[in-house]
Protein backbone atom coordinates (compact mmCIF):
# COMPACT_ATOMS: atom_id res chain seq x y z
CA UNK A 1 0.00 0.00 0.00
CA UNK A 2 1.19 3.46 -0.85
CA UNK A 3 0.74 6.84 0.75
CA UNK A 4 -1.83 8.80 -1.22
CA UNK A 5 -1.04 11.95 0.72
CA UNK A 6 2.27 12.97 2.23
CA UNK A 7 2.30 15.89 4.64
CA UNK A 8 5.73 17.38 5.29
CA UNK A 9 6.49 19.81 8.11
CA UNK A 10 3.17 21.59 7.82
CA UNK A 11 2.70 24.59 10.09
CA UNK A 12 -0.08 27.12 10.01
CA UNK A 13 -1.00 30.21 12.01
CA UNK A 14 -4.29 32.02 11.58
CA UNK A 15 -4.28 35.77 11.21
CA UNK A 16 -5.76 36.22 14.69
CA UNK A 17 -2.48 34.78 15.96
CA UNK A 18 -3.79 31.33 16.81
CA UNK A 19 -1.21 28.71 15.97
CA UNK A 20 -3.18 25.86 14.60
CA UNK A 21 -0.70 23.35 13.24
CA UNK A 22 2.85 22.86 14.42
CA UNK A 23 5.24 21.04 12.15
CA UNK A 24 2.98 18.16 11.15
CA UNK A 25 4.42 15.32 9.11
CA UNK A 26 2.45 12.22 8.24
CA UNK A 27 1.48 9.98 5.36
CA UNK A 28 -2.09 8.98 4.58
CA UNK A 29 -2.74 5.54 3.12
CA UNK A 30 -4.84 4.90 0.08
CA UNK A 31 -8.02 2.82 0.48
CA UNK A 32 -8.15 3.16 4.24
CA UNK A 33 -9.97 5.23 6.83
CA UNK A 34 -7.54 7.55 8.56
CA UNK A 35 -8.94 9.21 11.63
CA UNK A 36 -7.72 12.53 13.03
CA UNK A 37 -8.83 12.74 16.65
CA UNK A 38 -8.22 14.69 19.80
CA UNK A 39 -9.79 17.49 21.82
CA UNK A 40 -11.24 20.60 20.20
CA UNK A 41 -8.73 23.15 19.01
CA UNK A 42 -6.17 20.51 18.15
CA UNK A 43 -5.88 21.45 14.51
CA UNK A 44 -7.79 18.53 12.99
CA UNK A 45 -10.25 20.64 11.01
CA UNK A 46 -7.49 23.01 9.99
CA UNK A 47 -5.54 20.11 8.58
CA UNK A 48 -8.59 18.87 6.66
CA UNK A 49 -9.13 22.34 5.25
CA UNK A 50 -5.53 22.44 4.09
CA UNK A 51 -6.02 19.26 2.10
CA UNK A 52 -8.59 20.84 -0.23
CA UNK A 53 -7.25 24.39 0.18
CA UNK A 54 -10.52 25.51 1.77
CA UNK A 55 -8.32 27.51 4.11
CA UNK A 56 -7.85 29.86 1.18
CA UNK A 57 -11.18 31.34 2.27
CA UNK A 58 -9.87 32.02 5.77
CA UNK A 59 -7.28 34.57 6.72
CA UNK A 60 -4.09 32.70 7.30
CA UNK A 61 -1.05 34.56 8.54
CA UNK A 62 1.70 32.07 7.91
CA UNK A 63 1.94 28.61 6.57
CA UNK A 64 4.90 26.46 5.84
CA UNK A 65 5.56 22.95 4.66
CA UNK A 66 4.25 20.83 1.84
CA UNK A 67 1.31 18.57 1.16
CA UNK A 68 1.91 16.08 -1.62
CA UNK A 69 -1.07 14.38 -3.20
CA UNK A 70 0.07 11.79 -5.73
CA UNK A 71 3.46 13.43 -5.50
CA UNK A 72 2.31 16.97 -6.30
CA UNK A 73 2.57 19.78 -3.80
CA UNK A 74 -0.97 21.16 -3.58
CA UNK A 75 0.11 24.13 -1.48
CA UNK A 76 2.00 25.43 -4.48
CA UNK A 77 0.37 28.71 -5.57
CA UNK A 78 0.20 27.35 -9.12
CA UNK A 79 -2.10 24.51 -8.09
CA UNK A 80 -5.47 24.44 -9.86
CA UNK A 81 -7.59 24.60 -6.71
CA UNK A 82 -10.82 23.98 -8.59
CA UNK A 83 -9.51 20.67 -9.90
CA UNK A 84 -8.05 19.91 -6.48
CA UNK A 85 -11.41 20.37 -4.78
CA UNK A 86 -13.07 18.02 -7.23
CA UNK A 87 -10.46 15.43 -6.44
CA UNK A 88 -10.61 16.03 -2.67
CA UNK A 89 -14.24 16.15 -1.56
CA UNK A 90 -15.44 17.35 1.82
CA UNK A 91 -18.40 16.62 4.08
CA UNK A 92 -19.04 19.16 6.83
CA UNK A 93 -20.14 18.79 10.43
CA UNK A 94 -23.61 20.12 9.88
CA UNK A 95 -25.38 18.84 6.80
CA UNK A 96 -25.64 21.80 4.45
CA UNK A 97 -28.03 20.97 1.66
CA UNK A 98 -28.24 23.68 -0.95
CA UNK A 99 -31.64 25.35 -1.34
CA UNK A 100 -32.73 23.26 -4.29
CA UNK A 101 -34.03 19.77 -5.01
CA UNK A 102 -32.22 16.61 -3.97
CA UNK A 103 -31.32 15.94 -7.59
CA UNK A 104 -29.99 19.45 -8.11
CA UNK A 105 -27.88 19.11 -4.97
CA UNK A 106 -26.27 16.01 -6.40
CA UNK A 107 -25.63 17.42 -9.84
CA UNK A 108 -24.47 20.83 -8.60
CA UNK A 109 -20.75 20.07 -8.65
CA UNK A 110 -20.90 18.33 -12.02
CA UNK A 111 -22.82 21.20 -13.56
CA UNK A 112 -20.26 23.66 -12.24
CA UNK A 113 -17.69 21.57 -14.03
CA UNK A 114 -19.69 21.96 -17.23
CA UNK A 115 -21.42 18.59 -17.45
CA UNK A 116 -24.72 19.06 -19.26
CA UNK A 117 -25.60 15.60 -20.55
CA UNK A 118 -28.68 14.41 -18.71
CA UNK A 119 -27.74 10.75 -18.95
CA UNK A 120 -24.41 11.40 -17.25
CA UNK A 121 -26.04 13.46 -14.54
CA UNK A 122 -28.77 10.88 -13.89
CA UNK A 123 -26.21 8.13 -13.76
CA UNK A 124 -24.11 10.10 -11.25
CA UNK A 125 -27.16 10.74 -9.07
CA UNK A 126 -28.04 7.08 -8.84
CA UNK A 127 -24.50 5.82 -8.41
CA UNK A 128 -23.61 8.30 -5.67
CA UNK A 129 -26.85 7.87 -3.75
CA UNK A 130 -26.32 4.11 -3.75
CA UNK A 131 -22.77 4.54 -2.50
CA UNK A 132 -24.01 6.80 0.28
CA UNK A 133 -26.57 4.13 1.22
CA UNK A 134 -29.62 6.33 0.75
CA UNK A 135 -30.87 5.46 -2.75
CA UNK A 136 -33.68 3.15 -1.60
CA UNK A 137 -34.95 5.69 0.92
CA UNK A 138 -35.30 8.65 -1.41
CA UNK A 139 -35.23 7.41 -5.02
CA UNK A 140 -38.92 8.27 -5.51
CA UNK A 141 -38.64 11.87 -4.41
CA UNK A 142 -35.47 13.16 -6.00
CA UNK A 143 -37.21 16.33 -7.12
CA UNK A 144 -38.38 17.30 -3.64
CA UNK A 145 -36.52 20.08 -1.85
CA UNK A 146 -33.51 18.59 -0.09
CA UNK A 147 -34.33 20.52 3.06
CA UNK A 148 -37.40 18.30 3.54
CA UNK A 149 -35.18 15.31 4.38
CA UNK A 150 -34.26 14.36 7.94
CA UNK A 151 -30.88 15.43 9.29
CA UNK A 152 -29.43 11.96 8.81
CA UNK A 153 -30.69 11.76 5.25
CA UNK A 154 -29.41 15.24 4.50
CA UNK A 155 -25.94 14.30 5.66
CA UNK A 156 -25.91 11.24 3.42
CA UNK A 157 -27.09 13.41 0.53
CA UNK A 158 -24.14 15.69 1.30
CA UNK A 159 -21.85 12.67 1.18
CA UNK A 160 -23.44 11.56 -2.09
CA UNK A 161 -23.01 15.09 -3.47
CA UNK A 162 -19.28 14.75 -2.90
CA UNK A 163 -19.22 11.24 -4.39
CA UNK A 164 -21.01 12.44 -7.52
CA UNK A 165 -17.83 14.25 -8.49
CA UNK A 166 -15.92 10.96 -8.32
CA UNK A 167 -13.22 12.32 -6.05
CA UNK A 168 -10.20 10.30 -4.96
CA UNK A 169 -10.04 11.54 -1.39
CA UNK A 170 -12.98 12.18 0.92
CA UNK A 171 -12.62 14.44 3.95
CA UNK A 172 -15.25 14.26 6.65
CA UNK A 173 -15.29 16.82 9.45
CA UNK A 174 -17.37 15.38 12.31
CA UNK A 175 -20.01 14.29 9.81
CA UNK A 176 -22.21 12.63 12.42
CA UNK A 177 -22.02 15.19 15.21
CA UNK A 178 -25.66 16.19 14.80
CA UNK A 179 -27.07 12.77 13.94
CA UNK A 180 -28.93 10.10 15.87
CA UNK A 181 -27.20 6.74 16.48
CA UNK A 182 -29.02 4.96 13.66
CA UNK A 183 -28.06 7.57 11.07
CA UNK A 184 -24.55 7.61 12.48
CA UNK A 185 -24.34 3.87 12.01
CA UNK A 186 -25.44 4.21 8.39
CA UNK A 187 -22.81 6.84 7.68
CA UNK A 188 -20.11 4.78 9.39
CA UNK A 189 -20.93 1.65 7.46
CA UNK A 190 -21.02 3.65 4.23
CA UNK A 191 -17.46 4.75 5.03
CA UNK A 192 -16.34 1.14 5.36
CA UNK A 193 -17.65 0.51 1.86
CA UNK A 194 -16.17 3.72 0.50
CA UNK A 195 -12.65 3.02 1.62
CA UNK A 196 -12.45 0.20 -0.89
CA UNK A 197 -12.35 2.80 -3.62
CA UNK A 198 -11.37 6.02 -1.93
CA UNK A 199 -8.93 7.46 0.56
CA UNK A 200 -11.03 8.48 3.53
CA UNK A 201 -9.97 10.97 6.21
CA UNK A 202 -12.36 11.38 9.09
CA UNK A 203 -12.45 13.73 12.04
CA UNK A 204 -14.73 11.73 14.34
CA UNK A 205 -17.03 13.30 16.89
CA UNK A 206 -15.98 10.97 19.69
CA UNK A 207 -13.14 8.69 20.69
CA UNK A 208 -15.56 5.78 20.41
CA UNK A 209 -16.27 6.63 16.81
CA UNK A 210 -12.55 6.99 16.19
CA UNK A 211 -11.95 3.52 17.59
CA UNK A 212 -14.84 2.00 15.62
CA UNK A 213 -13.85 3.37 12.25
CA UNK A 214 -10.09 3.86 12.18
CA UNK A 215 -7.69 1.83 10.11
CA UNK A 216 -5.11 4.44 11.02
CA UNK A 217 -5.43 7.10 13.65
CA UNK A 218 -3.59 10.31 14.43
CA UNK A 219 -3.90 11.99 17.81
CA UNK A 220 -3.75 15.79 17.69
CA UNK A 221 -3.25 17.97 20.73
CA UNK A 222 -2.97 21.75 20.49
CA UNK A 223 -1.66 21.79 16.97
CA UNK A 224 0.74 18.95 17.47
CA UNK A 225 0.64 15.44 16.07
CA UNK A 226 1.26 13.41 19.23
CA UNK A 227 0.94 9.90 17.91
CA UNK A 228 0.10 8.25 14.63
CA UNK A 229 -0.39 4.54 14.30
CA UNK A 230 -2.69 1.78 13.19
CA UNK A 231 -6.12 2.07 14.78
CA UNK A 232 -5.91 -1.23 16.55
CA UNK A 233 -2.76 -0.31 18.41
CA UNK A 234 -3.38 3.35 19.21
CA UNK A 235 -6.66 2.66 21.01
CA UNK A 236 -5.42 -0.42 22.87
CA UNK A 237 -1.72 0.14 23.47
CA UNK A 238 -0.85 3.78 22.87
CA UNK A 239 2.83 4.60 23.09
CA UNK A 240 2.43 8.13 24.39
CA UNK A 241 1.15 8.94 27.86
CA UNK A 242 -0.92 11.86 26.51
CA UNK A 243 -2.66 9.62 23.99
CA UNK A 244 -3.42 7.08 26.66
CA UNK A 245 -4.84 9.74 28.97
CA UNK A 246 -7.12 11.01 26.23
CA UNK A 247 -8.20 7.61 24.94
CA UNK A 248 -9.03 6.38 28.42
CA UNK A 249 -10.99 9.55 29.14
CA UNK A 250 -8.72 11.18 31.67
CA UNK A 251 -9.08 14.51 29.86
CA UNK A 252 -10.84 15.89 26.86
Amino acid sequence: MTDKIVIENLSLTYSDGVESLRNISMGVRENAVTVLFGPAGGGKSTLLRCLNRLNDLTEVRTSAGRILIDGENILDPKTDVIALRRKVGMVFARPVVLPMSIRQNLTYGLELAGEKRKSRLDEAVERSLKLAAIWDEIKDRLDDPAIALSGGQQQRVCLARVLALQPEIILLDEPTSGLDPISTGKVESALQELKKEYTVILVPHSVQQAARTADYAAFFLQGELVEYDEGKSIFTTPREKRTEDYVTGRFG
Binding site: L54, R86, C158, L165
Partner: protein
Protein backbone atom coordinates in the same frame (compact mmCIF):
# COMPACT_ATOMS: atom_id res chain seq x y z
CA UNK B 1 -46.01 43.02 52.17
CA UNK B 2 -44.94 40.39 49.60
CA UNK B 3 -48.46 40.20 48.31
CA UNK B 4 -48.77 43.87 47.71
CA UNK B 5 -45.46 43.97 45.86
CA UNK B 6 -46.55 41.23 43.49
CA UNK B 7 -49.87 42.89 42.81
CA UNK B 8 -48.09 46.10 42.04
CA UNK B 9 -45.83 44.38 39.60
CA UNK B 10 -48.78 42.93 37.74
CA UNK B 11 -50.56 46.23 37.66
CA UNK B 12 -47.42 47.96 36.42
CA UNK B 13 -46.99 45.37 33.68
CA UNK B 14 -50.59 45.78 32.55
CA UNK B 15 -50.33 49.52 32.52
CA UNK B 16 -47.04 49.33 30.68
CA UNK B 17 -48.34 47.05 27.95
CA UNK B 18 -51.53 49.04 27.57
CA UNK B 19 -49.44 52.15 27.06
CA UNK B 20 -47.24 50.43 24.47
CA UNK B 21 -50.29 49.09 22.62
CA UNK B 22 -51.78 52.56 22.58
CA UNK B 23 -48.58 54.01 21.15
CA UNK B 24 -48.48 51.35 18.44
CA UNK B 25 -52.06 52.13 17.47
CA UNK B 26 -51.31 55.86 17.44
CA UNK B 27 -48.63 55.34 14.80
CA UNK B 28 -51.15 53.73 12.47
CA UNK B 29 -53.68 56.55 12.76
CA UNK B 30 -51.91 59.21 10.67
CA UNK B 31 -51.19 56.77 7.83
CA UNK B 32 -54.76 55.56 7.67
CA UNK B 33 -56.03 59.11 8.05
CA UNK B 34 -53.91 60.41 5.17
CA UNK B 35 -55.00 57.63 2.86
CA UNK B 36 -58.68 57.98 3.71
CA UNK B 37 -58.58 61.77 3.46
CA UNK B 38 -56.89 61.77 0.05
CA UNK B 39 -59.18 59.00 -1.14
CA UNK B 40 -62.35 60.83 -0.12
CA UNK B 41 -61.20 64.19 -1.47
CA UNK B 42 -59.59 62.89 -4.63
CA UNK B 43 -62.00 60.18 -5.77
CA UNK B 44 -64.51 62.62 -7.37
CA UNK B 45 -61.77 63.92 -9.69
CA UNK B 46 -60.86 60.50 -11.02
CA UNK B 47 -62.26 59.81 -14.45
CA UNK B 48 -61.01 58.39 -17.70
CA UNK B 49 -60.40 61.90 -18.98
CA UNK B 50 -58.42 62.81 -15.86
CA UNK B 51 -56.12 59.82 -16.29
CA UNK B 52 -55.72 59.92 -20.04
CA UNK B 53 -56.11 63.57 -21.02
CA UNK B 54 -53.88 66.60 -21.20
CA UNK B 55 -54.30 69.54 -18.82
CA UNK B 56 -56.63 72.24 -20.08
CA UNK B 57 -57.64 75.68 -18.96
CA UNK B 58 -54.33 76.55 -17.26
CA UNK B 59 -54.20 73.07 -15.69
CA UNK B 60 -57.46 73.73 -13.86
CA UNK B 61 -59.25 71.09 -15.86
CA UNK B 62 -58.58 68.19 -18.18
CA UNK B 63 -56.23 65.35 -17.30
CA UNK B 64 -52.80 64.69 -15.89
CA UNK B 65 -51.54 62.15 -18.41
CA UNK B 66 -48.20 63.93 -19.05
CA UNK B 67 -47.44 63.91 -15.35
CA UNK B 68 -48.33 60.23 -14.98
CA UNK B 69 -46.26 59.25 -18.01
CA UNK B 70 -43.42 61.49 -16.83
CA UNK B 71 -43.26 59.91 -13.40
CA UNK B 72 -43.31 56.51 -15.07
CA UNK B 73 -40.40 57.47 -17.34
CA UNK B 74 -38.42 58.94 -14.44
CA UNK B 75 -38.92 55.79 -12.39
CA UNK B 76 -37.78 53.59 -15.27
CA UNK B 77 -34.83 55.89 -15.94
CA UNK B 78 -33.83 55.80 -12.28
CA UNK B 79 -34.05 52.00 -12.31
CA UNK B 80 -31.87 51.74 -15.40
CA UNK B 81 -28.98 53.50 -13.65
CA UNK B 82 -29.38 52.69 -9.98
CA UNK B 83 -30.36 49.01 -10.09
CA UNK B 84 -27.31 47.53 -11.87
CA UNK B 85 -24.92 49.87 -10.09
CA UNK B 86 -26.51 49.33 -6.69
CA UNK B 87 -26.65 45.56 -6.96
CA UNK B 88 -23.10 45.34 -8.25
CA UNK B 89 -21.87 47.49 -5.37
CA UNK B 90 -23.81 45.37 -2.90
CA UNK B 91 -22.32 42.15 -4.30
CA UNK B 92 -18.87 43.63 -4.02
CA UNK B 93 -19.40 44.78 -0.44
CA UNK B 94 -21.07 41.59 0.73
CA UNK B 95 -19.15 38.95 -1.17
CA UNK B 96 -15.71 40.19 -2.15
CA UNK B 97 -14.64 43.19 -0.14
CA UNK B 98 -12.25 42.63 2.71
CA UNK B 99 -12.79 44.65 5.85
CA UNK B 100 -10.25 47.38 5.22
CA UNK B 101 -9.92 51.14 5.06
CA UNK B 102 -11.35 51.30 1.53
CA UNK B 103 -14.53 49.38 2.30
CA UNK B 104 -15.03 51.32 5.52
CA UNK B 105 -14.75 54.51 3.49
CA UNK B 106 -17.30 53.20 0.98
CA UNK B 107 -19.70 52.30 3.77
CA UNK B 108 -19.36 55.71 5.40
CA UNK B 109 -19.97 57.32 2.02
CA UNK B 110 -23.13 55.28 1.50
CA UNK B 111 -24.48 56.13 4.94
CA UNK B 112 -23.81 59.82 4.37
CA UNK B 113 -25.30 59.69 0.89
CA UNK B 114 -28.52 58.50 2.51
CA UNK B 115 -28.48 61.47 4.87
CA UNK B 116 -28.15 64.23 2.29
CA UNK B 117 -31.30 66.35 1.89
CA UNK B 118 -33.00 65.74 -1.44
CA UNK B 119 -32.86 69.39 -2.50
CA UNK B 120 -29.08 69.20 -2.28
CA UNK B 121 -29.17 66.32 -4.75
CA UNK B 122 -31.27 68.53 -6.97
CA UNK B 123 -28.71 71.29 -6.93
CA UNK B 124 -25.89 68.81 -7.48
CA UNK B 125 -27.75 67.31 -10.44
CA UNK B 126 -28.23 70.77 -11.89
CA UNK B 127 -24.52 71.47 -11.63
CA UNK B 128 -23.22 68.14 -12.88
CA UNK B 129 -25.76 66.68 -15.30
CA UNK B 130 -27.72 69.68 -16.57
CA UNK B 131 -24.93 72.24 -16.89
CA UNK B 132 -21.53 70.56 -16.86
CA UNK B 133 -22.44 67.47 -18.87
CA UNK B 134 -24.90 69.55 -20.92
CA UNK B 135 -27.79 67.07 -20.67
CA UNK B 136 -30.08 70.05 -20.19
CA UNK B 137 -33.24 69.96 -18.12
CA UNK B 138 -34.15 66.45 -19.15
CA UNK B 139 -35.44 63.04 -18.15
CA UNK B 140 -31.86 61.84 -18.38
CA UNK B 141 -30.50 64.41 -15.95
CA UNK B 142 -33.40 63.96 -13.56
CA UNK B 143 -33.11 60.15 -13.66
CA UNK B 144 -29.40 60.32 -12.94
CA UNK B 145 -30.01 62.67 -10.03
CA UNK B 146 -32.72 60.41 -8.64
CA UNK B 147 -30.42 57.42 -9.14
CA UNK B 148 -27.75 58.89 -6.91
CA UNK B 149 -30.36 59.54 -4.28
CA UNK B 150 -31.75 56.02 -4.57
CA UNK B 151 -28.40 54.21 -4.58
CA UNK B 152 -27.87 54.07 -0.80
CA UNK B 153 -31.27 52.45 -0.28
CA UNK B 154 -30.66 49.85 -2.97
CA UNK B 155 -27.09 49.12 -1.89
CA UNK B 156 -27.86 48.71 1.77
CA UNK B 157 -31.00 46.59 1.32
CA UNK B 158 -29.33 44.45 -1.34
CA UNK B 159 -26.26 43.96 0.81
CA UNK B 160 -28.44 42.95 3.73
CA UNK B 161 -30.33 40.48 1.54
CA UNK B 162 -27.06 38.97 0.30
CA UNK B 163 -25.64 38.67 3.80
CA UNK B 164 -28.78 36.93 4.98
CA UNK B 165 -28.00 33.98 2.70
CA UNK B 166 -26.24 31.48 4.98
CA UNK B 167 -22.45 31.47 4.69
CA UNK B 168 -22.17 27.64 4.49
CA UNK B 169 -23.85 27.67 1.06
CA UNK B 170 -20.84 29.56 -0.27
CA UNK B 171 -18.36 27.25 1.44
CA UNK B 172 -20.13 24.16 0.12
CA UNK B 173 -20.19 25.58 -3.38
CA UNK B 174 -16.45 26.26 -3.27
CA UNK B 175 -15.74 22.85 -1.76
CA UNK B 176 -17.57 21.25 -4.71
CA UNK B 177 -15.13 22.82 -7.11
CA UNK B 178 -16.97 26.05 -7.81
CA UNK B 179 -15.45 29.46 -8.19
CA UNK B 180 -16.75 32.07 -5.78
CA UNK B 181 -18.64 33.72 -8.61
CA UNK B 182 -20.38 30.46 -9.52
CA UNK B 183 -21.62 30.18 -5.96
CA UNK B 184 -22.84 33.76 -5.98
CA UNK B 185 -24.50 33.36 -9.34
CA UNK B 186 -26.16 30.02 -8.75
CA UNK B 187 -27.04 30.15 -5.07
CA UNK B 188 -26.50 33.45 -3.32
CA UNK B 189 -28.10 35.78 -5.86
CA UNK B 190 -31.21 33.67 -6.52
CA UNK B 191 -31.75 33.28 -2.80
CA UNK B 192 -31.24 36.99 -2.16
CA UNK B 193 -33.26 38.13 -5.16
CA UNK B 194 -36.60 38.67 -3.41
CA UNK B 195 -34.90 40.77 -0.75
CA UNK B 196 -32.99 42.71 -3.37
CA UNK B 197 -36.16 43.33 -5.39
CA UNK B 198 -37.93 44.57 -2.31
CA UNK B 199 -35.15 47.07 -1.68
CA UNK B 200 -35.12 48.13 -5.32
CA UNK B 201 -38.84 48.79 -5.35
CA UNK B 202 -38.76 50.68 -2.06
CA UNK B 203 -35.90 52.82 -3.37
CA UNK B 204 -37.65 53.52 -6.68
CA UNK B 205 -40.86 54.26 -4.87
CA UNK B 206 -39.13 57.00 -2.96
CA UNK B 207 -37.63 58.35 -6.16
CA UNK B 208 -41.05 58.39 -7.82
CA UNK B 209 -42.45 60.58 -5.08
CA UNK B 210 -39.60 63.10 -4.83
CA UNK B 211 -39.96 66.67 -5.99
CA UNK B 212 -36.78 68.46 -4.99
CA UNK B 213 -34.23 66.40 -6.99
CA UNK B 214 -36.17 66.85 -10.25
CA UNK B 215 -37.06 70.48 -9.61
CA UNK B 216 -33.97 71.87 -11.33
CA UNK B 217 -32.99 68.85 -13.37
CA UNK B 218 -35.90 67.63 -15.43
CA UNK B 219 -39.32 68.75 -14.30
CA UNK B 220 -41.40 70.93 -16.58
CA UNK B 221 -44.11 73.29 -15.40
CA UNK B 222 -46.36 72.43 -18.30
CA UNK B 223 -45.86 70.53 -21.53
CA UNK B 224 -48.47 70.32 -24.26
CA UNK B 225 -47.17 66.93 -25.42
CA UNK B 226 -45.53 63.82 -24.06
CA UNK B 227 -41.72 63.72 -23.94
CA UNK B 228 -40.29 61.65 -26.77
CA UNK B 229 -36.62 61.46 -25.94
CA UNK B 230 -34.52 61.18 -22.78
CA UNK B 231 -33.26 64.68 -23.49
CA UNK B 232 -36.75 66.18 -23.17
CA UNK B 233 -37.98 67.71 -19.96
CA UNK B 234 -41.07 66.12 -18.54
CA UNK B 235 -43.97 66.76 -16.24
CA UNK B 236 -44.07 64.59 -13.14
CA UNK B 237 -46.74 63.87 -10.56
CA UNK B 238 -45.03 65.26 -7.44
CA UNK B 239 -43.91 68.43 -9.18
CA UNK B 240 -47.27 68.86 -10.87
CA UNK B 241 -48.91 68.60 -7.48
CA UNK B 242 -46.57 71.26 -6.14
CA UNK B 243 -47.33 73.50 -9.12
CA UNK B 244 -51.09 73.23 -9.00
CA UNK B 245 -51.10 73.64 -5.24
CA UNK B 246 -48.97 76.78 -5.10
CA UNK B 247 -48.56 78.37 -8.50
CA UNK B 248 -52.00 78.36 -10.07
CA UNK B 249 -54.64 80.70 -8.72
CA UNK B 250 -58.26 79.52 -8.40
CA UNK B 251 -57.31 75.89 -8.66
CA UNK B 252 -60.23 73.54 -8.02
CA UNK B 253 -59.13 71.51 -4.95
CA UNK B 254 -60.46 68.26 -6.34
CA UNK B 255 -57.87 68.36 -9.13
CA UNK B 256 -55.15 68.69 -6.51
CA UNK B 257 -56.50 65.82 -4.46
CA UNK B 258 -57.06 63.75 -7.58
CA UNK B 259 -53.40 64.22 -8.51
CA UNK B 260 -52.33 63.36 -4.98
CA UNK B 261 -54.47 60.25 -5.11
CA UNK B 262 -52.89 59.08 -8.36
CA UNK B 263 -49.40 59.60 -6.91
CA UNK B 264 -50.38 57.80 -3.73
CA UNK B 265 -51.79 54.84 -5.64
CA UNK B 266 -48.65 54.70 -7.80
CA UNK B 267 -46.39 54.60 -4.73
CA UNK B 268 -48.56 52.34 -2.59
CA UNK B 269 -48.96 50.02 -5.57
CA UNK B 270 -45.19 49.63 -5.79
CA UNK B 271 -45.12 49.08 -2.05
CA UNK B 272 -47.73 46.38 -2.35
CA UNK B 273 -45.69 44.60 -5.03
CA UNK B 274 -42.62 44.72 -2.79
CA UNK B 275 -44.53 43.35 0.19
CA UNK B 276 -46.03 40.56 -1.90
CA UNK B 277 -42.65 39.52 -3.28
CA UNK B 278 -41.21 39.47 0.21
CA UNK B 279 -43.93 37.42 1.82
CA UNK B 280 -44.09 34.93 -1.05
CA UNK B 281 -40.33 34.45 -0.91
CA UNK B 282 -40.42 33.94 2.86
CA UNK B 283 -42.97 31.19 2.46
CA UNK B 284 -40.84 29.44 -0.15
CA UNK B 285 -37.47 29.89 1.51
CA UNK B 286 -35.55 26.70 2.16
CA UNK B 287 -33.31 27.82 4.98
Amino acid sequence: MMRRLRLNRHVTERLGFSFLTLMAVVTVVPIVAVVIYILVQGMPAISWEFLSGFPRDGMRAGGILPAIVGTFYLTIGTAVFSVPLGIAAAIYLSEYAADNALTRLIRIAIINLAGIPSVVYGLFGLGLFVLFLKFGTSILAASLTLSIMTLPVIISTAEEALRAVPQPFRTVSVSLGGTRWQGIQRIVLPQALPGILTGVILGLERAAGETAPILFTGAAFFLPRLPNSPFDATMALPYHLFVISTQVPEMPPQVQYGTALVLLVFVLGMNLIATTIRSRARARRQW
